[in-house]
Amino acid sequence: MPHLAFTSQLRRFTATPEIETGATTLRAALEDAFALNPALRGYVLDDQGHLRANVVAFVDGRRSTDRIHLADPLLPESRVHVMQALSGG
């Protein structure tokens, strides 16, 4: 199953569940994590549900570029990492 993990930088603000998910898209995987910790959503997504400008998601080592829909497909063995972009300081 796809594996989702968040940067350790987020842990000082809120819980970051590391999960195995049956999701088939990046957004669905994130929603699974938000279901475990609703407060996490606002740290990763903005008011419009888009990936925050200074947050970056990697799917199998490739940076996601669809910051609006987060429709990147996930394979059963995909590994997703949500990181802070260094553009944020």
């Binding site: 606002g42 419009q48 925050r52 200074n54 947050v55 802070q84 300081g89």
Partner: protein
Amino acid sequence: MNDRAWIATRKGLFELRRDGATWRIAKTSFLGEPVSMVLPPQPDGRMLAALNLGHFGVKVHASDDAGASWHEVATPAYPPQPEGAPGAPWKLVQIWSLEAANGVVWAGTLPGGLFRSADFGATWQLIDSLWSRPERDEWFGGGYDVPGIHSICLHPTRPAEMLLGISCGGAWVTKDGGDNWALQASGMRAAYMPPEAAENPNTQDPHRIVRCAAQPDVLWCQHHNGIWRSTDDAASWQEVTGAPLSNFGFAVVVHPRDADTVWFVPGVADQQRIPVGAALGVNRTRDGGRTFETLRSGLPQQQCYDLVYRHGLALADDGSTLLMGSTTGGLWGSNDGGDHWQAVNTRLPPIHAVRFG
């Protein structure tokens, strides 16, 4: 309270206490995190801090014990943006102003929305009556990419009335608690606009607007290109000329019981945001702007490049205790209305806001 103050900085929130004539840092909170604004403790001890995390967005924290401990509360959020809606994205960029009265907290934000909370930050509501005004399409950013509300001037005796200062969107007034709004910046002039548009009240850049608590019909504005005063509750504004050094600056405070006594911190100009002559001075008028004096005693007078931003100057309720913080981390205090200043700390992080309480 005149003996406690809060310094919101690029790298945390600092609580100051005054021992006699000297200020000391008593406590730090959110060390390392940008704090864009603070709402000092209310009579029940509750206070708010607005963070602007570089990666993870705006967050609001509340304290029930005057800053001893904190917990995260809700963040104001913009509603879904309709397809093709003009203007800036409907995304919270920063909380730029926080005020509270009568059990209600008001948050002014970039990109220009006003939010209301009746439960001290547990929930927030966007004031749609202002956000949906067609004039908002004409607003633009001043110092930021998007417009923002930096001044919320509540009325001391009429709880349904408030004035907002918006960069760049002029001054807006409600007299019914936010149901209806009127643009009230007539008389201001924008030197950065084409001549035929210079007097458009909707594109004025009031850097900061403050209201005299005892004479609430009197408002003072440090504007992008001058100083303006209103004596008729913002029905009209008159330019005040004759301030020494420069009429450019960001900060203004008015004496709580004497509307004619006002302080400003001039800078050279918009294209050179440093003290005139690299020497820090504070302009004070005691006669409603007819005459000014520049106060320098105790302030650096050589190679000083400190800029005092719009929320960086604060006056305590006693009318004589001042604190002034700069964008390069200088903090000075005065116990005599600015006649004499003492450095509190000149190596703080960049200072966003200074507030007593």
